[in-house]
C-alpha cells in the first residue's frame, strides 16, 4: 500500500473507530447495561420480559423497532421473535415501540470501516465490532444500510427464546414441575400431563421473576416459520386499502397543514405577505417557521392552495446556485491532490503501468437524484404545555425525538414518537426536517393536533438528494486481459452532510461513501487503484437506496466492462477470471447459467450486458437483454443472482427486494436527475422525474444463493448492478458506450 493509503487507513482507525470504540467514551459507557424501556409504562399484571416482548392479559405484543418502509421489516422482525417464542406471529400485536437506546442498531456503522465486505479477517471483524459502540452511545435507533436482518437475526431470536424460557419458569413455579419438563406451543406452556397454560395467563407471574437468559437458539433445521413460504403480514391490508400510513393518521379535532420553505435549502425567509392567502377558504392560520411559512387549514388541499398564494421573499441558498457551477466544483476536485480523501485500494504499481502504455480512458458523470417515494413527507403532531406527541414514519426516531426536545425545550420523557407504516422511503426518511417543521407548527397552535403534509412539489424540491459525482478511469489491457485499472471519483461527502443535520457534529476522517461500491470489489487486478476525492459540501445531500454503491457500482463496473471490451475478452469470463471471492464467483457463474450466457451478442440489434457489484456484503450479478428498435432501446429480460448468506428467511420477500432494487436502479439510470437552477431542482413532480413504468419493465428471473458466511439484508444490494448491466447491454447491442446518467440524455428508450 502506498504511503498515502497507509496514512488514510490509519487516520480512519484512529480518527473514528478507535476513538469511538472506547478511548473517547471509556469502557464504562460502552458496556453500561441498557434499561428495558417497556418497564416504564407497564400496567399491573403485564410482563415486559425484555425490550422486545410484552405479555399482557390480552396476549403477546412484539416490539419491532426497525421501520417498515416496504421492505417487510415488521414481518421479518415479528417472525424472528415468534420462531423462538412459539407463537403464531399473526396472533401477536406488533408495535415499533417508543424510541430508545435499547433499540440501537449494532451493525449499521460497520459499512464505514475500511475493509471490503468479503474480508472476514480478524482485523476486519474487530474493526466492525467496534462500530456498535458509537451506535449504542449515540442511541442510533436507525433503519437503513440493509442492516435489519444482520442486526436483528440473533438479537430477536434471543429475545424470543428468553421470553419463552421465562414463561416456562413462571409455569414451573406455579405447577411445581421443573422447567426442563415443560414445552411450549402456539402461545401456551404445556405441562407434562398435557395441560395448556396460555402465555397471557402467566403474565403477572412472569413479571415477578428474573428473565431466564441462559438460552440456546434453535438450529435452522428446526425452524417452523423462518424459511417457509408465507404471506408477509402487511400484504393483506395493503391489498384492501386498510393499511394506515403516517399520512392516513388522524386525531379528533385535527387540523391540516403544509409548508413552503426556501427553495435554496437552508436559506432564510426575508419577508412574506400572506394577506391574500389568509382570506382563502379553510385557512385557519399562517405562521412563519424556520426557513419558510406554514399554513394551517381545515383540509390539506386548502392548505396547499393558500401556501402557494403566500408571497415569500427568500434569501439566497447557501451553496452554488446551478448544476453548471456544481459540475465545475466536482471537476476541480477530481484528481486534485489536495482533495484526495482516501485511497483504500492501491495494488501493484498503477503509475508505472500507465506511464508505459497508451491507456484506455473514460470520463463519467452521475447526477443528483431525489428519493421521491410516493408517500410525501408528513407528520402529525400535538404539542401541549407538558407533552409533544409525534406520529410519523421515520428511520431515525431517536433523532426525531431529540430535535423536538431542542425545538420545544422539553425533557426526553416529554416527547413521544410513534412510528407509522411508511409508503416508501429509499432513504428519504433518514431525515427529519419535515418533522421539525410540524413540531414548530404544532407549537404555534398548541393544544390542537396538526397533520403536516408536504406537497409533491415541496417534497421533490426539498429532498436531500443522492450526491452527484464525476469520475475518470484509466486502464491498460494486455494479451486479452485486464492488467491495470485506475478509477478516480470526486463527490461531496454525504456522511458529513447528513450527520451534521442529525447530530450537529462534524464527523472526523475520510468519508467512505465516496468510493463504497468501487474500491471494495472482490477482484484481483495486477495494478488496481481506486481514489476518492472529496469535493466541498454544496447542495445538502443524503443516503439514497444503496448509498455510495448506487453511483460507484455503475462507475466501477462500467469501466471494467470498457477494459474487458478493449481486451477483446468475454465480459462474464473475464470477470470470473479476475474474481477471487468464492461466493461472488458462484453468483457470476449462476447468472451465466440462468441467462444462458454465451457472449454479449444476441444477433442484429440485440445484446446483453452483465454487471457485478458487491454491496452491504452481498454479491449480486445481473444480466439484462435489450433490443435496439428503430424507436429506441427496449428492455427485454433481466436476470438476478444474489448471495445473501447462509439463510433465506422469506424467499418471496427477498425476490421482491431484488427485482424492486433492480427496477429502481434501471428507472434512474434511464430517465431521472435533479438539475439545479437558482439553488433549487427544476424537477418538482413525476412528469419531470419519470421513473420506470409497467410497459418499460422487462421480465425477471431471480435466483438466491446461500454460500456466504454471514446473514445479510437485501433492501439495497439489488440496485447497484442495474445501471451498469443496462449500459453494458446497450454497448453490446449498439456499440454506443453510455458514460453519463441518465442514459436518455444520449439514447432513446421505448
Amino acid at each position: 500500500m502506498s504511503r498515502i493509503g497507509t496514512i488514510a487507513r490509519r487516520t480512519f482507525l484512529i480518527g473514528s473507530v478507535a476513538v469511538a470504540g472506547g478511548v473517547a467514551f471509556g469502557t464504562y459507557l460502552a458496556k453500561k447495561p441498557i434499561p428495558n424501556p417497556l418497564l416504564d409504562d407497564l400496567s399491573d399484571g403485564e410482563a415486559a420480559i425484555n425490550p422486545f416482548v410484552k405479555i399482557t392479559a390480552e396476549g403477546v405484543e412484539l416490539i419491532t423497532p426497525r421501520a417498515d418502509k416496504g421492505q417487510g421489516s415488521y414481518s421479518t422482525q415479528a417472525d424472528l421473535i415468534a420462531e423462538e417464542l412459539d407463537i403464531d406471529p399473526a396472533s401477536a400485536l406488533i408495535s415499533p415501540g417508543l424510541p430508545h437506546q435499547a433499540y440501537f442498531n449494532g451493525v449499521v456503522l460497520e459499512e464505514g470501516v475500511p475493509f471490503p465486505g468479503y474480508d472476514d479477517s480478524w482485523m476486519a471483524e474487530t474493526a466492525r465490532s467496534f462500530m456498535s459502540v458509537p451506535a449504542k452511545i449515540f442511541e442510533m435507533q436507525l433503519t437503513g444500510g440493509s442492516s435489519t436482518v444482520p442486526d436483528m437475526f440473533d438479537k430477536l431470536r434471543t429475545a424470543g427464546a428468553v421470553a419463552r424460557e421465562t414463561l416456562k419458569q413462571a409455569a414451573a413455579q406455579r405447577s411445581g414441575h421443573s422447567r426442563a419438563d415443560l414445552t411450549t406451543e402456539d402461545g401456551h406452556v404445556i405441562l407434562p400431563d398435557g395441560t395448556k397454560i396460555a402465555y397471557a395467563d402467566l403474565a403477572a407471574e412472569a413479571a415477578q421473576i428474573d428473565p431466564v437468559t441462559d438460552v440456546t437458539l434453535r438450529p435452522p433445521e428446526d425452524w417452523k416459520i423462518l424459511g417457509t413460504p408465507r404471506i408477509r403480514r402487511d400484504i393483506p391490508a395493503k391489498s384492501t386499502g386498510a393499511e394506515k400510513y403516517g399520512i392516513d393518521f388522524a386525531l379528533d379535532g385535527m387540523l391540516f397543514a403544509t409548508v413552503r420553505a426556501n427553495p435554496g435549502i437552508g436559506g432564510v425567509l426575508e419577508s412574506y405577505d400572506a394577506s391574500d392567502a389568509e382570506t382563502m377558504p379553510g385557512v385557519e392560520k399562517i405562521v412563519p417557521i424556520s426557513h419558510g411559512i406554514a399554513v394551517v387549514a381545515t383540509n390539506t388541499w386548502y392548505a396547499f392552495q393558500a401556501a402557494n398564494a403566500v408571497n415569500c421573499v427568500w434569501g439566497p441558498g447557501p451553496y452554488p446556485e446551478s448544476s453548471a457551477q456544481i459540475w465545475d466544483e466536482l471537476d476541480a476536485a477530481l484528481e486534485n491532490p489536495d482533495r484526495l480523501d482516501h485511497r483504500n485500494r492501491d495494488d501493484g504499481d498503477v503509475e508505472a503501468a500507465l506511464n508505459g502504455a497508451s491507456p484506455v480512458e473514460a470520463a463519467y458523470r452521475i447526477p443528483f437524484l431525489a428519493h421521491a417515494p410516493l408517500e410525501p413527507m408528513n407528520a402529525t403532531v400535538l404539542v401541549t404545555d407538558e407533552l409533544c406527541e409525534i406520529w410519523t414514519g421515520t428511520q431515525i426516531p431517536t433523532f426525531v425525538r431529540d430535535h423536538a426536545m431542542k425545538i420545544l425545550g422539553f425533557e426526553r420523557d416529554q416527547v413521544k414518537v410513534y412510528g407509522q407504516p411508511i409508503g416508501g422511503s429509499f432513504g428519504h426518511r433518514l431525515e427529519g426536517t419535515h418533522v421539525n417543521q410540524a413540531v414548530e407548527i404544532a407549537q404555534a397552535v398548541k393544544g390542537t393536533p396538526i397533520k403536516m403534509t408536504w406537497s409533491r412539489e415541496e417534497d421533490m424540491t426539498h429532498d436531500y438528494p443522492r450526491p452527484a459525482a464525476v469520475a475518470r478511469g484509466r486502464g491498460v489491457v494486455s494479451e486479452g486481459q485486464v492488467e491495470t485499472y485506475d478509477l478516480s471519483v470526486a463527490q461531496s461527502g454525504l456522511t458529513g452532510s447528513w450527520m451534521g443535520r442529525l447530530t450537529g457534529m462534524s464527523i472526523p476522517g475520510p468519508d467512505a461513501t465516496i468510493t463504497t461500491g468501487s474500491w471494495d470489489q472482490p477482484f484481483a487486478i495486477p495494478n488496481y487503484r481506486v481514489s476518492g476525492y472529496r469535493a466541498p459540501e454544496m447542495v445538502p445531500i443524503s443516503s439514497w437506496r444503496s448509498v455510495g454503491a448506487s453511483g460507484n457500482g455503475f462507475l466501477h463496473d462500467t469501466f471494467l466492462d470498457e477494459l474487458i471490451a478493449a481486451a477483446g475478452a468475454d465480459p462474464l469470463e473475464e470477470r470470473l477470471r479476475l474474481c477471487h471471492h468464492d461466493p461472488s464467483r458462484k453468483v457470476l457463474e449462476a447468472v451465466g447459467a440462468l441467462s444462458g450466457w454465451d457472449g454479449p451478442s444476441l444477433g442484429e440489434n440485440r445484446g446483453r450486458g452483465v454487471a457485478f457489484v458487491m454491496s452491504f456484503g452481498v454479491p449480486v450479478a445481473q444480466v439484462i437483454e435489450v433490443t435496439n428498435t428503430p424507436a429506441g432501446v427496449r428492455l427485454d429480460k433481466a436476470f438476478i443472482v444474489a448471495d445473501i448468506g447462509p439463510h433465506t428467511l422469506d424467499l418471496a420477500n427477498v425476490e421482491s427486494q431484488l427485482f424492486g432494487g433492480m427496477i429502481f436502479g434501471l428507472a434512474h439510470a434511464i430517465n431521472s436527475e435533479l438539475v439545479y437552477e437558482n439553488h433549487a431542482p427544476q424537477q418538482d413532480n413525476y412528469h419531470a422525474y419519470e421513473g420506470l413504468r409497467l410497459y418499460q419493465t422487462p421480465e425477471f428471473e431471480v435466483q438466491v444463493l446461500n454460500n456466504g458466511t454471514r446473514i445479510r439484508g437485501i433492501g439495497e444490494p439489488g440496485l447497484p448492478p442495474a445501471a451498469p448491466a443496462l449500459g453494458n447491454a446497450i454497448f453490446a447491442a449498439t456499440g454506443q458506450r453510455l458514460r453519463e446518467m441518465p442514459f436518455n440524455k444520449n439514447i432513446d428508450f421505448v
Partner: protein, 153 residues
C-alpha cells in the same frame, strides 16, 4: 354538497373546486385513495366513478354530477375479497403498498371492460400507475391471474 361513496350518502361543506381526493381523505376519512402527485402522474388516487377508473386528484367534487364513487374500501363485497385483491395477496405484490390501492382499482376497471387482456392491453392500462418500489413484475402476474379467476366465476 351531497355525494355518494361506497353506497353511502354524505353531505360535505367544501368549495366545489376541491378535488374529490381531498374530500374523501380529509373530509370523510376514507384514506384508501392516496395523494402521490396531485397532477394525475402517479395514479395512487384512482377511484371508480360509475364504474370507470378516475384520478380523484383531478376531479373537482363539484363536477361529480351525481356520479357514484367507489374507493378501494368499497370494491369488494363485505365478506369476500375482489378477485383482483385476492390475486394481489396471493402474488405478494405490495412492498410499501402506497400505490396499490390505485393499481388495484385500475386493474379492476380494466378487467371489467376487458376480461381477457393481452400483455399489451395490460401495459397500456396499467402504465399510468406509478410504483416506486418496482412491483411491476408481480402486478403483471396478478392481473393475469385475476383475469382467469374472474372468467371462472
Amino acid at each position: 354538497m351531497k355525494l355518494t361513496v361506497n353506497g353511502e350518502e354524505y353531505d360535505v361543506d367544501v368549495t366545489p373546486d376541491m378535488p374529490l381526493l381531498w374530500v374523501l381523505r380529509d373530509e370523510l376519512g376514507i384514506t384508501g385513495p392516496k395523494y402521490g402527485c396531485g397532477i394525475a402522474q402517479c395514479g395512487s388516487c384512482t377511484v371508480h366513478v360509475d364504474g370507470s377508473a378516475v384520478r380523484s386528484c383531478q376531479l373537482a367534487v363539484g363536477d361529480l354530477a351525481g356520479g357514484a364513487v367507489t374507493t378501494i374500501e368499497g370494491l369488494s363485497a363485505p365478506d369476500a375479497l375482489h378477485e383482483v385483491q385476492q390475486a394481489w395477496i396471493d402474488h405478494q405484490v405490495a412492498q410499501c403498498g402506497y400505490c396499490q390501492s390505485g393499481q388495484i382499482m385500475q386493474a379492476a376497471a380494466l378487467l371489467d371492460l376487458n376480461p381477457s387482456p393481452t400483455d399489451n392491453d395490460i401495459d397500456a392500462a396499467m402504465s399510468g400507475n406509478l410504483c416506486r418500489c418496482g412491483t411491476y413484475p408481480r402486478i403483471r402476474a396478478a392481473v393475469k391471474a385475476a383475469a382467469v379467476k374472474l372468467q371462472e366465476v
